[in-house]
Symmetry: C2
Subunit: 527 residues, 2 copies
């Protein structure tokens, strides 16, 4: 017996239709690299997306074809997502921070037929072009004869392609530190459900009152899904092509930004700007931090400024929202310190996804706030199989192994303790490199810290700490070790503390632990 | 080309699983008719729902079978929803306010196999029983040998039935004022999408910080979907078997209620209680009013107490959320009066549904804030076909005609102007009976008002007003007409004002206009 309700395919085009129809005058603002600010709105984005879809059809693109972008956050890039998806295509965002060889591999593997790019990346495109086997059309977002000419030539009289809700709509490659990048192929259905979940008060808390400045780039994990969720909620968007703290701060104040989202380093730079200028954060009230763990000091400072902090965890394979920190029941009765404790964990799953932690034999561990194990996830916006892979990326019952090590508290709050491959194995026990780094960053004079395991004849591995000092700070190993000893178990204390000028990072700003481990592979501890 | 994400059927069982797993200790409180208060939690509800599902299976129930309830709001009733749906069944809530003949028709039409009921309705059940052709099991929620015995006999070791996401999960009959009631058969998919939309800040704004007291009965339009949305968000629920203002107020304060939802009359009674006692509303911060239009004075009073008012519109055929009032962009810059103006309209659609207004020939009218016409709706939680009907309830392109008369403002805000059948047609123009009533209720000494059209030789119809005075209030027709003339167009002023002791209402508390029109059919205006 079937129910009596209507058919309604879960297609991403419903998002842009809704935003244009119900929130058509809500602004989409872009601050360009030259300092100019332009404005369109949801109605304008929808209109131009239809024109772009017409242009793609005229180029001979078919549903399912991939359209790549090599671009920063701006309204044309944003419009291109809806244009490509609207004609049945798959938008494929390239990470500008990757090396040429990785980009070449990715574009050829994806078989992108179109490449849209910012003029600032013309040199990259010129280098790649001889090696790209599938791209037929190179279109600049901001040079004569490019995007604007395509749009101008069309009338926008176009009806979105209608297909199955399991059709793909977006392709993102993971920026792994080893092996070839792997593609995650999002579907209309998964993207729509993810967007609906993100609107929730416990995730991004989006409404027409929201003015959202996504600092997380569109080329990274679909900008955490915000371009889709923002359409469902009808937010005002503010995009910036550059991410210098003074520019972002000016935009926040001028445009009345209420929500922002980005990796921790963005906020460190913002604090320096605030310290230097004495300025405040305007109407900002919710900051989402993800990508890597937010240091406690950062969380405290934002909260003391009256800004709620949402600490998120996720990955390209999870669309990307896996968990989000949000006030639990009884939040108002907690002390400030307890509130910070809550925020420093990684939060809870939104309705839809499910987590578990398993031991090395795959046995499911209890949610006791103590048992740490490999974090696994499943749900409607979690990967099943990488693009063009021969087998599923999931284990029994659709569980995807995240490569993170975590524990789950009895109330469902998840706490990342480490990346599985970054755990330091000392005497059969695990030392969390992340916790050690967080403890070190909280010490006086420390700007950045990396903890890695190096070989030890007795304990198998022992931790060493690599420290970047703050400018002009005086820090000695003994003082630091003494400060650390108040924060971590004695056997976690590093066997060696080394001061370095800088640490290596991946294209997405994470510590490049593989390079560090390689560099210190033969390091001899003074035993 | 298929995408790479996971299969995940949109089944209602995901809701109870999520709530039990992630918010298991969040309380579900019931205040019973005898004044006692009992507590369970999401984990307890899930456990008992599994036991109940086992009991249904043991009775021989099959997926798709209907399980009826005749009950008030309490945790056992709530658990029965998830138990019946979890075994693949269809929960069918009977409206306790219907007449016996209507209930008999509905139960037999639905072919309910089980009837769960509150002891207070034992006399009703005894009267109906000889006429019910399909019910095999009569189970009392609160008498020995009833619900508790069923639960106690089972171990809860049960895996939810898995089926298609288009399977039905719930059946609600519309309490029409004419003709046979018609059944709306909700699906797992429609219910889940509706629940996800309801969590949004622009709809019910639900999170684990929410303490929700649904005053809207579970037997009316699925309690506006709150039992499902509350699970997705992990709220604390507070249920009350009785709806006297002092009882509800005590519960609000004792349980820290933050959100409530009910028809306007509930709040009128609450105001009287507050006036009599000098009490306040505790932590209440969001009140949703639906069912019929909220008078402006009510909206103002709640807002002045610091409570946000969400003015909702919907119907059983729309699951029921069609629109919801929520702060638009720029809300904080509006004056209090302008904010009240916004709230007094019916709000905007959540992502998913779409509205239009059409003229008498079916021509689509502009969204200009002036063109009033028949309101039509479509979307994933809107009806396609009534239960057992031979043809669809929708017109071209899935549009469902709501029977309401409305206009849509350029920003998408919808404003109900009347029920199509209640419009007063005077000289070829329409007079909104709802607006006339609202204007009258805002006048001094008026407790309730009904406007109906009566025959007029020249104008076809002219309005008369039936007024129930407030206790001890002195109101004369001339004073009222004079007050009204400042609020409505001159030609809208009623030709006659009559004072009555009471007005007739439908089972769901709406003015029974058909009865009034019937009563005054031959009324002669003094011309």
């Amino acid at each position: 017996m079937l129910g009596g309700m209507q058919d309604w395919a879960l297609r991403v085009t419903h998002l842009i239709d809704h935003a244009a129809r119900e929130h058509g005058r809500q602004e989409i603002v872009t601050r360009w690299g030259d300092g100019s600010v332009t404005r369109t709105d949801w109605a304008g984005v929808a209109r131009d997306a239809r024109k772009l879809a017409q242009a793609f059809v005229a180029m001979g693109l078919e549903p399912g074809d991939r359209v790549a972008t090599l671009a920063m956050n701006h309204d044309r890039h944003f419009t291109a997502w809806y244009g490509a998806i609207g004609m049945g295509g798959v938008i494929h965002t390239l990470n500008i921070r990757l090396f040429d060889e990785q980009l070449i591999y990715i574009v050829n593997h994806a078989e992108d037929r179109v490449l849209l790019y910012d003029a600032q990346f013309q040199p990259v495109v010129d280098r790649l072009r001889p090696h790209l086997t599938s791209v037929e059309h190179y279109i600049s977002f901001d040079q004569p004869g490019g995007y604007d000419a395509l749009i101008a030539a069309r009338d926008g009289d176009y009806v979105w392609h209608m297909g199955d809700e399991r059709d793909p709509c977006m392709l993102c490659y993971t920026s792994g530190t080893t092996g070839h990048p792997k593609g995650v192929l999002y579907e209309h259905r998964s993207t729509l459900l993810h967007a609906m979940a993100e609107v929730s008060p416990s995730v991004f808390d989006l409404s027409p009152e929201t003015v959202m400045l996504p600092i997380v780039p569109m080329f990274h994990a679909a900008s955490w899904g915000l371009p889709f969720a923002g359409a469902a909620a009808g937010v005002k968007f503010v995009f910036s092509v550059t991410n210098d703290a003074p520019v972002l701060h000016r935009l926040m104040v001028d445009e009345g930004v209420t929500h922002s989202a980005g990796v921790p380093t963005v906020w460190l730079a913002m604090f320096q700007h605030l310290d230097a200028t004495g300025e405040e954060l305007g109407k900002l009230r919710l900051v989402t931090i993800g990508g890597s763990a937010a240091p406690r000091a950062m969380v405290e400072r934002l909260m003391k400024m009256g800004v709620r902090v949402g600490h998120a965890w996720g990955m390209t394979e999870t669309s990307p929202i896996g968990t989000m920190g949000a006030p639990p029941a009884g939040w108002d009765e907690l002390s400030f310190e307890k509130q910070v404790d809550v925020v420093c964990k990684q939060g809870r799953v939104p309705f839809g996804v499910e987590l578990r932690v398993v031991d090395e034999d795959g046995g499911v561990l209890p949610r006791d706030g103590a048992s740490s194990g490999r974090l696994q996830i499943r749900g409607p916006w979690v990967i099943k199989r990488y693009f063009k892979a021969d087998e599923d990326a999931t284990e029994d019952g659709d569980w995807f192994d995240t490569g993170d090590v975590a524990l789950i508290h009895p109330d469902g709050t998840m706490q990342i303790t480490d990346r599985a491959k970054d755990v330091i194995k000392s005497g059969g026990e695990w030392i969390s490199s992340v916790e050690l780094e967080n403890a070190a960053v909280g010490c006086k004079g420390v700007a950045e810290a990396a903890a890695i395991g190096v070989p030890h004849p007795k304990w198998d591995e022992r931790p060493i700490l690599l420290i970047v000092r703050k400018a002009d700070a005086q820090v000695c190993p003994d003082a630091l070790r003494s400060e650390l000893s108040a924060k971590v178990a004695k056997w976690w204390l590093p066997d060696e503390i080394l001061f370095v000028d800088s640490l290596p990072h991946t294209g997405t700003g994470k510590l490049l632990k593989t390079a560090l481990r390689e560099e210190y592979r033969d390091y001899r501890l003074p035993i």
